[in-house]
Amino acid sequence: MTSDEQLILELQQGSDEAFTELFLRYRERVYGFFRRRMNDAAQAEELAQETFLAVLRAAQRYEPRATFRAYLFGIAFNILAAHRRKSVLNPTQPDRAPDEPSDPSGTNPENVIWVRQAVERLEAAEREVLLLREFEELSYEEIAKILRAPVNTVRSRLFRARMALREILAIAPRNLRGRK
C-alpha cells in the first residue's frame, strides 16, 4: 500500500494509476463531505466531481509538507465556499430547500436523522469545525489553515460545538447516549 502523499507525487510526475488510486480511496469521503453539508444529492455529486478535477488540474501545486488529506479537503472546502457564494447571489438554486425533509432518502434510521438535525442546529462556524474534525479527521492546525483562523479559535469553537451538541442530544426523545 502506497501512502497518499507518495501517490500525489507520482501524479505530479504524470501517473494515471496514482490518480485512479487516490480517487478510489477518497471518493466516498469527498462525496460524504458535500453530502453532509447539503441536502441536494445531485449538487453534492457535482461538487465532488469538481473537487477531483481540481486535484487533477492543480496537482503541481501540492507541496508535500501538508498531508494529502488536508490538501484535498482544503480544495473541497474552497469549492463549497464558492458554491455557497453563488447560491447567495443566485437564490433560484437554494442550498437547502426549506420544504425538503431533512432526510432526503427517507430511509435513515431515526438516530441518524436525529444526529443530523442536532448538528444543523449548531452555529455555522462551530458546525464547520466540528464536521472537519469528526468526519474529515483533520488536526486543529489543518482546520485552522483551511478556515484561516487561529488554532486557539478552532479549539474553542470545537469545544463549544461539542458541548452544545451534547446538550441537544441529551434531550433526545429516546436515550441514545453513546456507548458505555
Binding site: S3, F23, G32, E46, R155, L158, R177, R179
Partner: protein
C-alpha cells in the same frame, strides 16, 4: 468546574482526546483523568458525542460520479495535449469547462478536437488514460461485488446496512520486511549563507520534503541549522550522499526499525474486526426483535467501525513512515568548531584571535566603567563623612608649624 480546582482547562481534556497535546502534557492530563471523576466524566461525554456523530453515515457515492469524472478526465487530457502541441489552443479553451452541462458540450467539442488532431498528435497518452480508467471500472466491479449488501429485504434496517460504509479490501500482506528508516548527519560548513536553499533543493530533487527546519544565529557563537527531512526510502542513500557534499561530515548514523510485525498484527486485528462487523450486519439483516435491540446492534456496529477506521489510520501512518525515511540533519558553521579545538584554516584562526582580542579590550573598558559606577556612591559618601574631621586634623597639624615660624 473551574480551572482553579483542576490543573487543566476543559478544552485541554478535549484536546487530549483528540491527540492534540504534546507528549508531556498528555501524560499529565491522562494522570489527572485517572484521579478526577469530574474531568473523567467530561471526557466520557466528549467521547459519547463523537460516537453518536459517527452514526451519521451517508449513502454511497453514486456510480455516475465515477463515470462523469472519467469523461471529464479524458477531456482534461485532451486539453493538456493540445496545449502542449502549441497551436489551436484557443479552440480547446472554448471547450466548456467541466462545471455546467459539460458532458454534452464537451463531448461534441472533444469529438471535433479528436478529429482535428488525431493524425498530428501521438496517441500514446490518450491510450494510457483509457487504460487507467478501464482498470478503475474493473476494480470498481470487484469492490461492489465484494461489499455490496444484498437488496433482498426492504425497510429501515436494510437501509442502515446499505449505508454502512463498505470496507476497503484487506491490506495486502507485506511481501518484504517493512523497515522505517532513520538517519542522522552532522556537518560543519564554511559558507552558511546558501545552506538553507541547498538543503531544500536536495529534498526536492529526491521527491522528499522538509518536515521542520530551525536555524539559529546567536550573536557570538556559530550559526546552526537543524532540519528534519522526509525522503522516499529508496532515495535515502543518494540523499545522504548529496547532503554530505554540503560540508565536512562530523557524524553520520543510520538505523532501521523493523515494523513488519506491527503491520501484520494490526492487519490481522483489522481482519477480525471486519469479520465482526460483517457478523453484526448479518444479525441486523435477520433481526426480528425489538427496536431497542436493533439500536444496540447498530451502536455496536458503529463502535466496531470506529475501531476499524482507527486501525486503518494507524496503518496508513505506519506505511508513511516506511515509505518516507527520516533524515535528521544538523549543521554548524565553522567558527564554533574552531573554538572547540578542531583544526581549522589559519585565516579563520587569526580572524578569531583578532575578534577575541578586540572583545577582551572592550570588556576590560566596560568592566572598569561598571566598577567605577558601582563604587562611586560609596567613595562620595565616605568622602563627605570624612571631609570635616580630615580638615580639622590638617589644620591642627599645620597650626604648630605656622606658630613656630
Amino acid at each position: 468546574m473551574t480551572s482553579s480546582t483542576h490543573p487543566f482547562e476543559q478544552e485541554e481534556v478535549m484536546a487530549y482526546l483528540d491527540g492534540e497535546l504534546s507528549a508531556n502534557r498528555a501524560v499529565s492530563v491522562a494522570a489527572h483523568l485517572r484521579e478526577c471523576t469530574e474531568c473523567a466524566a467530561l471526557a466520557e461525554q466528549m467521547r459519547g458525542v463523537s460516537s453518536q456523530l459517527s452514526n451519521w453515515s451517508v449513502e454511497a457515492a453514486p456510480a455516475s460520479l465515477t463515470k462523469n469524472l472519467e469523461a471529464a478526465r479524458a477531456d482534461h487530457a485532451l486539453v493538456k495535449e493540445t496545449k502542449r502541441a502549441g497551436f489551436a489552443g484557443w479552440l480547446t479553451e472554448k471547450i466548456p469547462s467541466f462545471k455546467n452541462r459539460w458532458v454534452l458540450g464537451a463531448a461534441g467539442a472533444a469529438a471535433g478536437v479528436v478529429l482535428l488532431f488525431a493524425l498530428t498528435l501521438p496517441t500514446r497518452r490518450r491510450e494510457q488514460h483509457s487504460e487507467g480508467w478501464a482498470q478503475l471500472a474493473y476494480t470498481e466491479q470487484l469492490r461492489s461485488a465484494e461489499t455490496a449488501p444484498s437488496k433482498s429485504a426492504a425497510g429501515e434496517v436494510e437501509a442502515f446496512i446499505a449505508q454502512a460504509r463498505p470496507s476497503p479490501p484487506p491490506s495486502p500482506e507485506p511481501t518484504q520486511p517493512m523497515i522505517a528508516r532513520t538517519a542522522s548527519v552532522s556537518l560543519i560548513v564554511k559558507d552558511f549563507g546558501p545552506l538553507e536553499a541547498s538543503v531544500k533543493a536536495v529534498a526536492q530533487r529526491h521527491n522528499g520534503y522538509i518536515a521542520s527546519l530551525n536555524s539559529a544565529s546567536p550573536q557570538d557563537a556559530a550559526r546552526t541549522l537543524s532540519a528534519t527531512l522526509r525522503i522516499p526510502s529508496a532515495q535515502l542513500e543518494s540523499t545522504i550522499a548529496e547532503l554530505k557534499q554540503l560540508g565536512r561530515v562530523e557524524q553520520e548514523s543510520q538505523s532501521g526499525e523493523e515494523v513488519t510485525k506491527e503491520f501484520t498484527d494490526r492487519a490481522a486485528r483489522m481482519k477480525n474486526a471486519r469479520a465482526t462487523e460483517e457478523r453484526l450486519l448479518d444479525v441486523l439483516r435477520n433481526h426480528t426483535g425489538q427496536v431497542k435491540d436493533i439500536l444496540a446492534t447498530e451502536q455496536e456496529i458503529a463502535r466496531v467501525r470506529g475501531d476499524i477506521e482507527q486501525m486503518e489510520a494507524d496503518q496508513r501512518s505506519l506505511q508513511t513512515r516506511v515509505d518516507f525515511a527520516t533524515v535528521e540533519l544538523s549543521v554548524q558553521e565553522e567558527y564554533k568548531a574552531s573554538l572547540q579545538g578542531a583544526p581549522t584554516a589559519i585565516g579563520t584562526r587569526l580572524r578569531n584571535a583578532a575578534v577575541e582580542g578586540y572583545r577582551t579590550v572592550v570588556e576590560s573598558v566596560i568592566g572598569f566603567g561598571v566598577w567605577a559606577l558601582q563604587s562611586l556612591p560609596t567613595v562620595l559618601l565616605w568622602g563627605l563623612v570624612l571631609f570635616a574631621p580630615a580638615r580639622w586634623i590638617w589644620k591642627r597639624l599645620r597650626r604648630p608649624a605656622v606658630s613656630q615660624s
